[in-house]
Symmetry: C2
Subunit: 334 residues, 2 copies
């Protein structure tokens, strides 16, 4: 017969002949209880069908132990690598990771109003998605500690990437290498968002060239949807021009790979005939020997967590805006 009252931690403790402390520990940090005891408690738990009451739990811990991440769909490897940093930092602390994926600004808005801003989450990280004033205000009004990654907002803490500077670094590097006929290739996705990082990279890139008195003709600025095949096609077009560029700055590593592939197919030697510089330094950039602008992807996630946890701890702290440094990693492609 099923017992009439839901069993409490006290019942389990009595049944197993230990203190409630030990039972609690068994549930939360099982590695801190002895093997024997562990088995006994587990048996008791199973026997009684004990399920800890979430509410009491949330009460006793300060907060829910849950932090949310809103991320664009995992299409781009760079999101994943950021996420990895977050997961890593979070699993070290004792937090659950709740992931909300989003495929449009529309859905982001819905989420931000429907995701219970209070009570459900202890903190929020928004990855590579733009937050407008209304959203930001709602977040601070609700007192939900939030950290933005990649799209900063004055009222919320953020981890930023200096995309403009990155573009410049690429320009300067290619100029130094003697290139004068340089193209840019970026992606078109997320067109609804303003201030897209890729645009910023283009801005910086153009600046860098201009400072050296070099033009970036419109025909040398190409955008392609973020997919292997389409990017490859656009790159092939670019490389088949009567006067093709001798160097291309590709705004994301993933697309840079497609450019390399296009070059390979056209039997264009890299880096002899064509220099390619990427952006991101994904794991696979190393495999491809891609010269690229390294941004600390994993680190950005880790840092976001760090800032967030600090903010959860003392909510009165002012917002922080951290800009991660960029480094150019010189490999074989430029």
């Amino acid at each position: 017969m099923p017992p009439n009252k839901p069993p409490t931690i006290y019942d389990v403790a009595r049944h197993a002949g230990v203190s409630i402390t030990t039972v609690s520990r068994m549930i939360n940090t099982p590695d801190k209880v002895n093997g024997d005891t562990r088995v006994r408690i587990l048996a008791a738990i199973d026997a009684l069908g004990f399920v800890p009451k979430a509410e009491a739990r949330a009460r006793a811990m300060r907060g829910t132990g849950r932090i949310g991440v809103i991320s664009p769909f995992f299409t781009a490897p760079s999101f994943v690598q950021r996420l990895r940093g977050i997961a890593e930092a979070l699993s070290a602390k004792k937090f659950e990771l709740v992931i909300y994926t989003v495929d449009s600004a529309e859905r982001l808005k819905n989420l931000l109003s429907s995701v219970p801003l209070t009570g459900n989450l202890d903190g929020l990280i928004i990855l590579s998605l733009p937050v407008d004033d209304a959203d930001a205000r709602r977040l601070v009004d609700h007192g939900l500690p939030t950290v933005l990654v990649e799209f900063p907002h004055p009222n919320l803490s953020s981890v930023e990437i200096d995309d403009v500077m990155g573009g410049r670094m690429a320009a300067q590097y290619l100029l130094k290498k003697g290139h004068r006929c340089i193209a840019f290739l970026g992606d078109t996705d997320l067109p609804e968002y303003s201030l897209h990082p890729v645009s910023q990279r283009l801005v910086g890139f153009r600046q860098g060239l201009q400072e050296a008195g070099i033009e970036l003709p419109d025909a040398f600025v190409r955008l392609a949807p973020y997919s292997q095949e389409q990017t490859r096609k656009v790159a092939a077009e670019l490389l088949s021009m009567p006067q093709p560029p001798t160097a291309i700055f590709v705004a994301t590593d993933f697309q840079a790979l497609s450019v390399l592939k296009a070059a390979r197919q056209l039997k264009i030697q890299v880096p002899e005939q064509l220099a390619v510089v990427g952006f991101d330094d994904l794991d696979l950039a190393e495999y491809a020997d891609l010269t690229t602008i390294h941004q600390h992807l994993d680190e950005s996630g880790r840092l976001a967590v760090e800032i967030l946890l600090a903010q959860i701890e003392s909510p009165s702290r002012p917002t922080r805006h951290v800009k991660l440094p960029l480094t150019l990693i010189e490999r074989q492609t430029a």
Copy 2:
């Protein structure tokens, strides 16, 4: 002023100049509170933006289910691609995705003893991690619908990959191409797990060769830690043998890339001097033009969700064991 700390009933009480008792009553049985006081408390509640936590939780959880995914740390891209399928399928339905990452069998055990109880989950997907009998029993005893991906267990539903068959397919393909001197390269990670997919792939591979009367000498079976650099080194060793293999079956695409890199560095032509077949068909296999055994990574995640949701809907349904088909994708490397 936006509240900095989530206000408690105490704050409201102080602000309204009453005891917490009265505030509590106000919330639960307002008719038992005097008109004046009622107004004052209401004002305080509004001013502070107070939301009783339990209520918030209840509100929050209504309608939104929560499904958990236990996954190995995001080291391997294949996990991520499976996860992507899960996230995709889940964001269509109205479910939250809670991710637990795990880096050892030890931690998995810990998680499994606590998550089912504590996590408030409606369902669980376990990605690429082995579950033993005790764990499985606990899960079914607790009535937590669970779907396993890649490591099946008789008592739980699963989405499986026929790794043995995959190994055979690789062997048969390479044999058909005329190779007789064939090596295997796999990874050593997760040594604590039995029945590792990579071992299975080796088993099938060996079978395939044996059926054609071909030996797989021990010197041609190499294991390397799952990292670019180390795999490259082991591959280089293999390729520098006095009698190097003319073909290598690499048990994961990610490592196959490193093999390709090693070949490039040793100026060994692929596929002319060396054929390489991978396993997984990651996104980047296409970029690298890698001939590989395609397993539906995204699809496996999607399918797991589908099975899980069906099971949540009608818990009485028997467990299902779905085996996804494998296909050999012929590209440039073999």
